[in-house]
Symmetry: C2
Subunit: 471 residues, 2 copies
Amino acid sequence: LFISATMEALSILSGILLLLLSGAQSHEPVLSEKLIRDISNYSEIALKIIDYSLTGPGANQSYNRLATFVDRYGPRLSGSSNLEDSIDHMLYLLQQDGLDNVHGEEVNVTHWVRGKEIAQLLEPRSAELSILGLGSSVGTPEEGITADAVVMRSFDELEERKDEVKDRIVVFNPTYVSYPVTVAYRVNGASRASKYGAVATLIRTVGPFSIYSPHTGMQVYNSSVPAIPTACITIEDANMLDRLERAGERLTIHLYMEAQTLPMVISRNTVAEIKGSVYPDQVVVVSGHLDSWDVGQGAMDDGGGAFISWQALSIVKGLGLTPKRTLRLVMWTDEEAGGIGSQQYYQRHREDADKYSILFESDEGVFLPYGILFSGSAEAKAILQQIGQLLVSINASEVYDNGGGTDVDWWREEKVPTASLANHNEHYFWYHHSNGDTMDVLDPEEMNLCSAVWAVYAYVLADLDDVLPRG
Amino acid sequence: LFISATMEALSILSGILLLLLSGAQSHEPVLSEKLIRDISNYSEIALKIIDYSLTGPGANQSYNRLATFVDRYGPRLSGSSNLEDSIDHMLYLLQQDGLDNVHGEEVNVTHWVRGKEIAQLLEPRSAELSILGLGSSVGTPEEGITADAVVMRSFDELEERKDEVKDRIVVFNPTYVSYPVTVAYRVNGASRASKYGAVATLIRTVGPFSIYSPHTGMQVYNSSVPAIPTACITIEDANMLDRLERAGERLTIHLYMEAQTLPMVISRNTVAEIKGSVYPDQVVVVSGHLDSWDVGQGAMDDGGGAFISWQALSIVKGLGLTPKRTLRLVMWTDEEAGGIGSQQYYQRHREDADKYSILFESDEGVFLPYGILFSGSAEAKAILQQIGQLLVSINASEVYDNGGGTDVDWWREEKVPTASLANHNEHYFWYHHSNGDTMDVLDPEEMNLCSAVWAVYAYVLADLDDVLPRG
């Protein structure tokens, strides 16, 4: 999951607007009796999907497939051979699963490499600080950077103390408010400090809880100021440096980073389908991204999302169902480095926007699900709410606003509906972008439930008479 | 906190026996009316202690003192200059605090050093495994050890599969039951595997929860088998290796450890007192250990325990109180490497056992307190229960069985009562012996409460007419 602060702010604002609007209008859209009956007629199929996923041949399948996959390939950063090898194998697996039209769609992606990286506190005592360089960061000179550090608790403090920043390493120690708010320090911290002459920045990990675990993620240079090396440190070390500065201690830090951006390479969005029986050129997309950060196993972010999406097709196929329109799985590439994979897919396919009923993306956890998040017209939302009734037995019938995700939000421009999974992901940011993103975070039964939710929505929407209405 | 499996098993057994015995006896010991009145008379002083600690000059003092101390010195392993420098400074601080008889009591302690350590999974894929060598482990040869690995989920499985162990690295992946039970794999795993020809062992971290955080700790070689290198790995990696083995993959691991045991060095137990006004040669001891593992900050284990013990004396002194008998602070050295500091203290002072009313040790967290754990006679326990009534206002009046700790349990041999702090330490083993043991784990207000509990018990017991009755 990569959310730029701006994107998320817009998303929150649009959510508030939608809320105000929905509060203002006194009448809910009313579905035709035929449509209500059509959807209700899927209740038997929905139960079959749920049984298949929870206790049938699909039980624990997505978890076991994912474990085997990430144990074998590990983390899968854009540009890495890990990612390309894993895509090769994924194409093989999807073919083995008997899916249609299995192929990779080529994408030019960034290729940033971490290399060796070290941060050492030299004064007031010698200590190694655990760091993770931030994506797209430049490295240090060969001899590293040794400089005194200043600790800033906010961008406001940076502005107030800007005269103290020149030739210093700026340590940002903002209190965690929420990921979309606090991530601004990770995304923009380096350039904000570079503007005042800082030689490097260390950003407190963006997360609500840590056991001395640094979290990486993307950062963006402002081209009007020099690009300086930037890395995250742990919450614990940020707080320690903060206390030491307040106690009047001089902080001296040595930073060494080999990080560099190599020439772009060719990667692939991984695609597989169940071809529609009546409207094969119309599609419902289920998706997650196959790339991950280069730490941990990329099991949660976003192995889980990619694999329940595959599972949705597996379940439909396993039950011998063929929807009227095409059910398409896309496993995006290069989400973490900014979403180039999904952007290129959008650019290539946007002319067919009217044939896309909806794009689902799971990229915020596959924990215990309770429904779906949706972005689209009120009438389309009412249809999803009706489908949600098919999921009452597993307590996943709710439909909330603000569905979507980095990889599918491009389609909002064409008013194509998007949706994502509402799940108990309260601890998502404990593990996000860290070595803690492993299979241990996930649970087979929760993945079964997520897969069932995904499959019911995807199948029913792919089988209804019409694509979802636009706003 | 170091608990050998045997010690803890004995402690649990004795607890069960005590429980059975206390259930069997139909009459509780009855305190004399005078003693009840004497203790009740401390209610005003107890309130002063509580106010002093929670909202008076003592508020947040133990937390702030500890933060300043561990930020400055970092972790403090036996034999290290960090530990000796921190003891020097502690002696200075205790003198500055105006305490009596501030001195160090010399102890010969072990000097194990970690050095560089690396574990790499070579097959079925290349991955770095985060490790922490275990205390007293030998290192590898200079070229490291490269061998295939076998995963054992229990000692029973090791016995069943002992023929597969020769020339292999044994990975132990036992399910976490509880620290005292599961720690046996850390303490004895290397020798159990060495018996069957293993060349090294990797032990799953002994803890209930992890964010990819390895936990070190002491291990003990059995002298009848070759000493082989041993380290802990994370829960996550242990589970991954387990899954890979079950999937039939060949596991090849390269292990490199520079760990070695150097000649013993002189360290010190750190002692300070408030000299008793009537029975200066009789003592009540409050204690924690100043040494720690060489990871994190040693803030929880056992900076917190050592500093609330200092705080107990600070509060009594700050209120201008002088108890009848001596209130002694001991900050033990070398607890983590097996308790040599407290053992030598016991050997040096055991002849005065009749003058020791009780020894308190805090080494299981300084989180929200709810009472005290106690080991001693039923009559002594009744006295502590009466004192507990002075702590009702802060919900810390309970007295449970099984008090004590590694550093004070020696005194049970002389029937001297021992006690420890009952506190909400449910997450203690999330951080124990890991880089997660930092100031972030602790809370100033919880430390204020712990300090108040500690000070009330210590002061009242030091000021009563008699030392606590033996069993």
